[in-house]
């Protein structure tokens, strides 16, 4: 959906959004709907559906190259490098219109109410400055806007509205796991998925179970931001400029943001002024940009008087466990990562030896190359005489479980700027430091044992595990945390920077704690809530 020339070109927008991913798209649509003139700058481009790997015989090889979730592997022009040598987990992301929702599996769980009260309930982390009940209407709005499939009635969570489309098929693989969980008396439920199972929205087809959502969905079944919010936002006049990479945010003498300096598609440095600047660059890109925006007023980076920009980085402690089954399971048919889950071990129970909890997310297999190279586990099938026997045991006969634990904020886990590494525009690249806490380690050990027990109960004849799983840093959270106290946070409960009153952050950076679920549901709900605050307070053309 390239710019057809019909969108207006705003020289003096009411708001400037940086980043066209899950949160930038949502906030852009919501503000445009309220009559705001919006410009969005995105360093990537539109992904062309017909060019996506799923149509081509070499589709599995693309996962190892230009569709790898690791920007250091892809090294595409839109990407920036990330120094992750000192991190347990590899940060993963995608740079395009739609952002990381382009390679997203679409697992779409909500936070539990207890996730907003971590300090009060369990004495760790911090409480959020808002509750589940305050966010719930925005969860509902977002589910309706993007199209979600699933089934209400899950006893592990508060009641919720009927899901916009029915659950996706879980197949023989899902039915096998369901029997395992039932046998143990453990919870499971069919996942809420950001994948439509029936006609919904415009120019989108229901899922045809092709499998590799992580390689982009060419039929618009998966609710990535480029096929949900963006078409609506463009129709409302939002001006989206692709291949535009922001170098820094400029401030004026009164300490408010003046706009940004960015490189246009021809590499020319340009200024875009705006009375309101909204960051939507993910939990690594946002602190990177703030730390790169130094000035006389903000020598340590913009909005960083607390010193907390880039601190408290959270992924999710993550391990992969796979069971090998005696029969074929149609393992590669259906969305790879959004099937069913168990929250049996989600809420805190200190008898388990750790605080907070984890979820178990069932994951399918992909094709033969993926299986041979070790699949979800990253443990290749052995070469040599045993090769064919082991390959046949595994191919189409495996079920994987992702053990996803809650990460807690620690200031030693951080995003800073690398003194040498830079992107193709010579903008300093992020350096990530992260180490797994002892609590997380104990949680993962427990989770791996639980996953193995569930797989065996379901009939697995062999169980393999990789713990922790290094390439699992899909969720980039906490690096511009929100709270009421300006000394202990970067933004307030409305995502507004304490130090810069016309600067908002709407991506995962503002998370206070990580919960133990995939975050996009909550990222988008928060973005919509912040947009409504901006609307209500007419942050349009005035600084405060």
């Amino acid at each position: 959906m390239p710019d057809d020339g019909s969108t207006p070109h705003w020289d003096e927008p009411d708001a400037l959004i940086i980043g066209a991913g899950a949160s930038g798209a949502a906030v852009g649509w919501r503000l445009a709907e309220a009559g705001f003139r919006v410009v969005c700058l995105e360093q990537g481009e539109w992904v062309e559906p017909a060019a996506l790997p799923a149509y081509y015989p070499d589709w599995e090889l693309r996962r190892l190259a230009d569709f790898n979730p690791d920007p250091n592997v892809r090294q595409l022009p839109a990407d920036y490098p990330v120094n992750d040598v000192a991190s347990t987990f590899t940060p993963l992301m995608f740079n395009a219109v739609g952002g990381s929702t382009i390679h997203w599996s679409g697992h779409f769980p909500r936070y539990h109410p207890s996730d907003f009260r971590v300090r009060s309930l369990d004495g760790v982390g911090d409480d959020w400055p808002l509750s589940y009940e305050e966010l719930e209407p925005f969860y509902d709005l977002n589910d309706q806007m993007i199209g979600v499939s699933g089934l209400a009635g899950d006893p592990s969570q508060p009641p919720r509205s009927a899901r916009p489309t029915p659950p996706l098929p879980i197949g023989k693989l899902g039915e096998t796991m369901a029997r395992g969980f039932d046998k143990l008396g453990w919870h499971w439920w069919v996942s809420d998925s950001a994948v439509i199972s029936a006609p919904y929205g415009e120019a989108r087809q229901p899922c045809n179970l092709c499998g590799p959502c992580d390689l982009g969905c060419p039929i618009g079944a998966r609710s990535s931001a480029d096929v949900t919010y963006w078409p609506l936002a463009l129709r409302l006049g939002v001006e989206l400029r692709t291949r535009c990479r922001v170098r820094e945010i400029m401030v004026q003498n009164d300490g408010t943001a003046r706009g940004v300096l960015y490189y246009d598609p021809l590499g020319r440095l340009r200024e875009q002024r705006a009375p309101l600047v909204i960051l939507a660059c993910n939990g690594i890109g946002t602190p990177r940009l703030l730390l790169n925006s130094r000035s006389r007023l903000f020598p340590d980076g913009l909005a960083n008087r607390s010193g907390l920009v880039g601190k408290n980085l959270m992924f999710h402690p993550f391990s992969a466990v796979s069971g090998v089954f005696p029969e074929q399971l149609d393992s590669y048919k259906g969305p790879i990562g959004t099937i069913m889950f168990s929250h049996e071990f989600y809420e805190t129970d200190l008898r388990r030896g750790f605080v907070r909890g984890y979820g178990l997310q069932i994951v399918r297999q992909s094709g033969p190359v993926h299986t041979a190279l070790g699949g979800f586990l990253g443990q290749p099938v052995p070469w040599g005489r045993e090769h064919h026997r082991v390959f046949k045991e595994r191919f189409n006969r495996m079920i994987s479980i992702g053990v996803m634990g809650e990460d807690l904020p620690e200031t030693i886990n951080e995003v800073t700027l690398d003194p040498e590494l830079a992107d193709s525009d010579a903008i300093p690249a992020p350096l990530v430091r992260y180490r797994l806490s002892d609590n997380s380690r104990r949680m993962l050990d427990h989770g791996v044992a639980s996953a193995a027990e569930a797989l065996r109960a379901a009939g697995a004849i062999q169980v393999l595990a990789t713990s922790p799983l290094r390439p699992s840093g899909w969720h980039l959270l906490g690096t511009c945390r929100m709270a009421d106290d300006p000394m202990s946070s970067v933004v307030d409960r409305w995502g507004r920077a304490h130090d810069v009153l016309n600067l908002f952050v709407v991506d995962g950076s503002i998370f206070v704690t990580s919960a133990a679920v995939n975050p996009t549901t909550t990222i988008q709900a928060l973005a919509l809530r912040i947009a409504d605050y901006i609307k209500r307070n007419q942050h349009r053309g005035d600084a405060a």
């Binding site: 090889l61 006893p155 092709c210 094709g367 099938v381 070469w383 040599g384 005489r385």
Partner: protein
């Protein structure tokens, strides 16, 4: 623009013999050497010079290890001796060896003849997609009996 030949005749014959041990022929499966995976690896080497260097050096290591263990060239060895040489190289040159295995699997498992042999329909995921029976809500019968167990906070 066709890629220049990345390997000379000797190197190509050596790589083919090595691939035949990485994924050997079996009664119902072709070997990676016989199948022509060598050509797909050569194409990969043409696009990435660090990988090319890794492979060219690695092939030399295989011949050196073969000479050390057996005082003969790799291609003159029996299968067991060849496997022993490769295990020694795997130990001594893990970066090369894992790239070798990785690229062998990439070439082997994208070949339609292999797909047929493993019972995988050889076509891209789209546009046909796949079929699965619809979700049966009865599967959740036991779960529905469970009382809500999330923590109330208000």
């Amino acid at each position: 623009m066709s890629a220049p030949a990345m390997l000379d005749g000797e190197q190509r014959a050596l790589l083919t013999a090595v691939l035949e041990r990485i994924v050997p022929r079996s009664p119902d499966m072709p070997g990676a050497g016989d199948l022509g995976v060598t050509a797909s690896i050569e194409r990969a080497l043409a696009t990435a010079s660090p990988l090319r260097r890794l492979f060219l050096d690695g092939l030399v290591e295989i011949e050196l290890a073969s000479a050390r263990q057996n005082e003969r060239g790799f291609r003159d060895l029996g299968p067991d001796e060849q496997d022993a040489v490769l295990r020694a190289v795997e130990e001594a040159q893990p970066t090369f060896f894992s790239a070798l295995v990785d690229h062998t699997y990439r070439g082997y498992y994208t070949d339609p003849r292999v797909h047929e042999a493993i019972g995988f329909e050889s076509r891209p995921p789209q546009p046909l997609g796949h079929q699965l029976p619809p979700f049966d809500p009865e599967l959740l019968a036991r779960q529905r009996q469970r009382a809500p167990f999330w923590r109330e906070t208000s």
